[in-house]
């Protein structure tokens, strides 16, 4: 089963590498943020698949942190700019 899990992780890794194109060329910052979000989700998938392959069950906590911080990054990104420089 382990080589199969690793090949699925390899496919997801190729997806991350392809998403890098959109992060690099994306015309607007929103596109970049979306691609970064997809990279994060694919990274969660890769980590979940690597945990049984490498026999390190603690990796699932890393996936939990990934999923928590994806929301933080997007929320920080979409906050409005303060127009008056009062603060």
């Amino acid at each position: 089963m382990s080589p199969f899990l690793l090949s699925v992780a390899l496919v997801l890794m190729a997806g991350i590498a392809a998403g890098l194109i959109r992060v690099a060329i994306g015309p607007t910052p929103s596109d970049r943020m979306m691609a970064a979000q997809l990279m994060g989700t694919s990274g969660i998938g890769v980590i979940l698949l690597l945990a049984p392959v490498l026999a390190v069950p603690a990796l699932i906590d890393v996936a939990l942190i990934f999923s928590l911080l994806a929301a933080v990054a997007v929320t920080a990104f979409t906050r409005r700019r303060i127009t008056n420089d009062g603060d």
């Binding site: 390899l10 890098l20 970064a36």
Partner: protein
């Protein structure tokens, strides 16, 4: 199994290097910050691959999450301070 793992490592390293290169050479601050967040995610993936879940936790939480959010706020303030229209934030991706 080992060959697959080698291919995986190679792909991960090449992606990381390419991302680092794009991050360092990007001129616009917010673009660099978003690329930095993606870089932190991939670096956490590298630590996970090296069987170091504690380092991966720290990298994902501090490197990608918190400092990414802080730097996004800083980049927004920095682009808000600019006065000349030539470098305003509307010219995001000026060549």
């Amino acid at each position: 199994m080992n060959a697959l793992l080698t291919v995986f490592d190679l792909l991960l390293t090449l992606t990381l290097l390419g991302l680092a290169l794009v991050t360092v050479t990007s001129r616009e601050p917010r673009r660099a910050v978003i690329l930095f967040i993606a870089f932190g995610l991939l670096l956490a993936l590298v630590w996970a691959r090296l069987r170091a879940p504690d380092l991966a936790l720290a990298e994902a939480a501090i490197g990608a999450g918190l400092s990414g959010a802080l730097m996004l706020a800083a980049a927004r303030r920095a682009s808000g301070r600019r006065t000349s229209p030539a470098e305003g934030s509307d010219a995001e991706d000026a060549p």
